[in-house]
């Protein structure tokens, strides 16, 4: 009897000690069914930062804010828009390293249970975020590359200000994504829980080199591009925002990681969706 009790205690302690580890690392979870946040919808970029670099085409050599190294500076100074256009490289500013910063509308939908689809009307670009890690990139490198996605879920599903406590009882109920485990006691309803925290981590590889900025500020094919997508908590009557944090590490052209965070506002519908080809307006003279 005593040994059973000891075993029980040992098991309990082991389980408990594993909890913070699991939470700290963020368990690798599936796609749609495990979504702690609903990222789908019609989003519009609100260009309140880097306006002159994003809304307009900056002058050649204007790479303010970007931590370029000597090689990056040299390459940026060779930018020639006409040459790009002639070579069919109009989409260099619309690749994975630059598209999020373009003034654009963004439609996010589930292509299937394991693939989140990002459509940008600027440049008419599509990115597929794969939750299936076994899916390997195939073929040639593309502007948008191959993205692997993974939910980073908050502990207990990320509810509000009250302390998150482990869920006990009613263990036969459905798992509410983000809802604090099984049953009704720990979490909000499904619809609410989908908006209460949790982020999507996306790592992209197998992309073509492109531009961080419209005026030829480069990133290389060997860059490491990591993004975090957050649907930000909001209250009734407030706008709903999507935040995309982008970290680009590119020793070839950058002296340090290049951090940006970009805001998109949720729109009611897609009535303002206006696909356009990859095109960069000439810079001011």
């Amino acid at each position: 009897m005593r040994s059973k009790t000891h075993a029980f205690v040992a098991a309990a302690v082991m389980c408990l000690s594993a909890i913070p580890v699991l939470w700290a690392q963020g368990p690798a979870r599936g796609g749609r069914t495990a979504a702690p946040a609903d990222l789908t919808g019609n989003w519009v970029a609100v260009v309140s930062e880097d306006w002159r670099h994003r809304m307009a085409t900056p002058k050649k050599g204007d790479f303010e804010s970007v931590p370029l190294n000597a090689e990056g500076t040299r390459v940026a100074n060779t930018w020639d828009l006409a040459k790009d256009n002639a070579a069919g490289l109009q989409c260099k500013a619309f690749g994975v390293g630059g598209i999020v910063r373009q003034p654009s509308r963004l439609l996010i939908t589930w292509q299937d249970d394991n693939t989140l689809k990002l459509d940008f009307d600027a440049g008419t670009q599509t990115r597929l975020l794969n939750f299936d890690r076994s899916k390997q990139p195939t073929g040639e490198k593309t502007w948008q590359g191959h993205s692997i996605a993974q939910w980073e879920t908050p502990p207990g599903g990320g509810r509000g200000g009250t302390a998150v406590r482990a869920q006990l009882g009613n263990s036969t109920g459905p798992i509410a994504p983000g809802g604090g485990g099984r049953g009704q006691r720990g979490g909000p309803s499904l619809a609410d829980s989908l908006n209460q925290g949790g982020s999507l981590k996306v790592v992209t590889t197998n992309f073509r080199e492109g531009y961080l900025r419209k005026n030829g500020v480069p990133y290389s094919e060997t860059a490491s591009i990591t993004e975090y997508f957050h649907r930000l908590p909001s209250e009734a009557g407030e706008d709903t925002w999507l935040l995309v944090v982008t970290i680009i590490e590119d020793p070839k052209y950058l002296t340090q990681p290049f951090y940006t965070s970009t805001q998109f506002k949720l729109e009611r519908d897609g009535s303002k969706w206006a696909p356009s080809p990859c095109r960069t307006a000439p810079p001011p003279k």
Binding site: L16, V46, S48, E49, P103, L232, L243, A274
Partner: protein, 570 residues
Amino acid sequence: MLRRRLYGLLLALLTVTPAYAQLSIVGEWVGRYHEDFGDRVPGDVQGDLTGVPMNEAALRYAEAYDVRRGNLLVHQCEPYSLPHIYRGPLQFRIWEEKDPDTQEIIAYKEYIGTYMQYRTIWMDGRPHPPEYAPHTFMGFSTGKWNGDVLTVRTTHLKKEFYRRSGIPSSDQTSVVEHYIRHGNLLSHVMIITDPVYLSEPFVNSQEFVLMDRGNQSWLYNCEYVMEVPMDQTKVPHFLPGTHPFIDDFSKKFGLPPAAVKGGAESTYPEYRTKLEAGTPAITLRSGPPAAPRANEVRNEIETVHVQGNVYMLVGAGANIAVQIGEEGVLVVDTGAAATREKVLAAIRKLSTKPIRWVVNTSADLDHTGGNETVSQAGETVNGNPAAIIAHEGVLARMTETSRSVTERPLNTFLEPSRDFSFNREAILLYHFDGHTNGDSIVYFRRSDVIVAGDIFLTTTFPTVDAQGGGIDGIIEGLNRILDIAVPQYLQEGGTYVIPGHGRISDEADVTEYRDMLVIIRDRILDMVKRGMTLQQVKAARPALEYEGRYGTESGAKFIEAVFKNLGEKK
């Protein structure tokens, strides 16, 4: 039995897991400026108005803004306010304050290296203060975890700027922040709502990295100094259409001036079409009308301790100040007649000592309606009703308007100032022909509180009485308050100022009000000199950028009064 206890232990362990529930944001963080570097770090080009959903009033403000205003001594140590500070170069430290019994987080504390500002984010569910509480540059913040996102809501902010280029933020601003951590990267999002100067919420975000060896540049003490002799009563500003640098940014970067001033419309993707076609136009929205004034005559009189021996009574029409001490009670203004009994009851709750003095800051009915009741309820040391003291102009006005003798101040003064001691505190009265020809401000020297009367309001433009009032007198009175007031730290706190109407204020609030009145006066004076009629002056809207804060109707009356006042002097 043992097993039951162990089950109990397990249950207890499971229920105390919230220590793991949230990511820690504790640490020392330093900014990365990979967005808007030019504006956020060097900030050397004037006229950068891009990306901010400003309204027409904000543009007007920016077009008049002269950076030399920051050279005035009262402006030199003003820090950036919450919606602005995270945009500049800074590092900050976050730590937790925990309940020692439960280990739950009561608050997050922040020390911000730039300007050495401190900030508290309350996590214990307390409500935000009432509307009459003082505003600060960091405001009042409450936080809540949503999963791994810390969401913070802040109100009670002071007026400042969104950009150094002069895009103003108002004291009606509220901010929603989100703190999001990924490893050693902290993303900080601000969603700023400002009914006075923004037509849509202004969203921005910035990145900070954890400092492994943090200990750099934490000190930023500010001591004001007059480097260039300048008249501290003159407020540098540009008259409409004369800002020589407003288009510097558009010229430097080859952008159409209208696009730089495009406001909310220019932040959406479809604006590219206009920009590329070279046809942008300024289509800024007007701000909404100022929020209607709260009913200042309330069912309940609220009592607020300002500091020292001085309290403020709210809800009696105009604000009332009460000083209490061993010698008795002194009351500054007595509110509207309709609330006189409630006012007396509120005073009696503060002290049962005799009411010895009543001071009137003007003869206005909403300041003196309770004179008789309060005076008759008190007594001087020789047994008479409490003495009512005011400038001679107040007595003259009350006599002209046939107020009863028991309402009138019979202890009057004609000199520019009067002082006496009460409750071991020096009390100084200063007279100005400002709002009326009998205005006084009252300074409680030990308590360090100034009662401004109606030369300073946080609700409307001042009224300028046609019989003896004057805009220059109001400005003179405000300048006197600025001379007296000493902020505790970074232009906030220290000397508190009770306005005739509105919230408790300090030197920075009075400074903004003074600046506003000087700017509007200068504009109207310029128009008067150019021979413009009252209708033309009104049409030019010389108070446009302040109407969303202090009211269009109030502004129109103010402009008319100032026009007539200055016209008479011409």
